[in-house]
């Protein structure tokens, strides 16, 4: 029957539309389902995952000592030249020459947070920090020197 089919068609179509309207109507009235994160406002409570790869940093202890031996493993592991290790020769108290880092230059603007340098580091000198607000007005300030001024290598790290 043409007429019956026609009416059935119209009714099932209307029903499918009403089902959709009921679902959106549910969300319209249930505001506790809202998932918006009010980002700059929730900065205080925002906690990044502890493995989050934000930028490469070099931790220093309270005596201003780091663990970097200047072996350039990170520089070799980096796919796009983000890290440059500049070494110098320290004279130890016994008068021996010892290789140490002068500067560990890190180009945040080139970094893709691939974690390969951290994995490659044999002495765990560099780690990934959880910071993520990297925007600055001057591109030059994205080039960072990871070791603190006057910092030394930690005792016993080879």
């Amino acid at each position: 029957m043409f007429i019956v089919n026609y009416i059935k068609e119209v009714l099932s179509a209307v029903r499918s539309l009403l089902v959709g309207l009921r679902r959106t109507g549910y969300y319209f009235t249930h505001h506790k389902e809202i998932i918006t994160e009010q980002y700059p406002d929730n900065r205080d409570t925002l906690k990044m995952a502890d493995r989050f790869k934000g930028e490469v940093v070099m931790p220093h202890d309270e005596k201003n000592e780091h663990r970097c031996t200047g072996c350039t493993a990170c520089e070799l592991a980096c796919p796009n030249g983000t890290i440059k290790v500049i070494t110098k020769f320290d004279i130890s108290p016994e008068g021996k020459k010892k290789k140490a880092i002068d500067k560990l230059v890190y180009h945040l603007e080139l970094c893709t947070m691939c974690n390969l340098c951290v994995v490659a580091c044999p002495s765990d000198a560099i780690v990934m920090a959880q910071t993520f607000e990297h925007s600055v007005f001057d591109r030059a300030s994205l080039t960072k020197i990871l070791n603190n001024p006057d910092s030394k290598i930690m005792e016993g790290v080879e």
Binding site: V10, L17, G20, L21, R23, T24, G25, Y27, F28, H31, E33, I34, I35, T36, Q38
Partner: protein
């Protein structure tokens, strides 16, 4: 009871006592003009913020919440932004028509405001063919859109305008037929008379089945006529970027934007007037006490409440449904809505002749 009509009457009397009738008339026109423009601005702001909030809540978002309390002044900020933007007229467009088109869209929206009864005895122009006037004038909208699409000298705009033309012309039919259903019951084209005829019950309740069907068809048809999703083919942004107003920016774009919202308001006002009793309070048969309490709610509130309910319905559609394709859009009109509304009109006429409605 306090009412808007007493204020308007007082102003009218005072003006006629102070000035001669010609000047009184001119002053009244100026007052009405200022009121209409003010209403336009307020409605535009309110409807935009309403749409954004409705959309946000349906989409499990918060929506605008930065400007003012709960983001209430967001649309003001938007307006300021649009006002200070450069009103560009691209090279290669038909400059006269390009700049005229948004004005036409706007003027049509303004003209449509005239015969609407906002509250008891509060109507700008109590025209005896009010409904006919609205249906006639609202079809001029398409000229503004076609003009914009053609003058833009852009293929997207032209396609959007052509789609819009086909769409508005065909959906006028079923909108007109569903309005006719109510006209058959009331026997009058005067909007005030139509409202008064619903004193003992709104047509959607009194008109039995045909009134409900024609209400549904009316809502679908006016959604299509105002180019709102799911019928927003004229500006389908995933297909035609922005359709007929692709080339517009700044205040000219804002006029189109505003005209769309005002059109939505007006068609919803017509729907509220025809089917939901306009400013007439909600009355139930013999419940005198209940009816009396309902009468205490100002008639303007009733009108705006009903209108905004219909506007909400149309927004709800927009944020739920996907868009139709152009051939499906015309199929829906010519294969479904038109036959159903014709049959419905026949049924309504039979009911009216037999006097079976309340």
């Amino acid at each position: 009871m306090w009412s808007l009509s007493s204020i308007s009457n007082a102003i009218h009397t005072w003006l006629n006592e102070t000035f001669n009738p010609t000047w009184a008339m001119i002053f009244e026109m100026v007052i009405v003009g200022v009121c209409v423009i003010g209403l336009f601005a307020v409605l535009g702001l309110v409807l935009v913020i309403m749409e954004r909030k409705v959309a946000a809540w349906i989409q499990i978002r918060l929506g605008p919440n930065r400007v003012g309390p709960k983001g209430m002044f967001q649309s003001m900020a938007d307006t300021v932004k649009l006002l200070v933007k450069e009103g560009m007229t691209p090279n290669g467009v038909d400059k006269f028509l390009f700049n005229l088109a948004p004005l036409i869209a706007m003027i049509v929206a303004m003209l449509l405001m005239a015969p609407i009864a906002f509250a008891k005895d509060f109507v700008m122009w109590d025209l005896n063919i009010g409904v006919l006037y609205v249906t006639a004038v609202s079809s001029i909208t398409v000229i503004g859109i076609l003009m914009a699409g053609w003058a833009s000298n852009n293929k997207y705009s032209l396609m959007g305008a052509m789609r819009s033309g086909a769409q508005i012309v065909s959906y006028e039919l079923s909108a007109g037929l569903s309005i006719l259903t109510i006209i058959v019951f009331t026997g009058s084209l005067n909007i005030s008379d139509i409202v008064l005829s619903q004193a003992n019950g709104w047509w959607i309740f009194k008109g039995h089945f045909p009134a409900i069907v024609s209400f549904v068809i009316f809502i679908i048809a006016v959604t299509a006529e105002t180019n709102r999703a799911p019928f927003d083919l004229a500006e389908a942004e995933s297909e035609l970027t922005a359709g007929f107003h692709t080339e517009y920016s700044g205040m000219k774009f804002a006029l189109f934007f505003l005209a769309e919202y005002i059109n939505v308001f007006i068609v919803c006002a017509i729907g509220a007037t025809l089917f939901l009793g306009g400013w007439m309070p909600f009355h139930i048969g013999n419940w005198e006490a209940f009816n009396h309490i309902m009468d205490y709610i100002p008639s303007g509130l009733w009108f705006f409440g009903k209108t905004f309910f219909l506007i909400f319905l149309i927004m709800w559609f927009r944020w739920t449904f996907p868009r139709l394709r152009i051939d499906q859009l015309l199929n829906l009109e010519w294969k479904y809505l038109l036959p159903i509304s014709m049959f419905n009109l026949l049924l309504a006429t039979a009911l009216a002749i037999l006097g079976w409605h309340f």
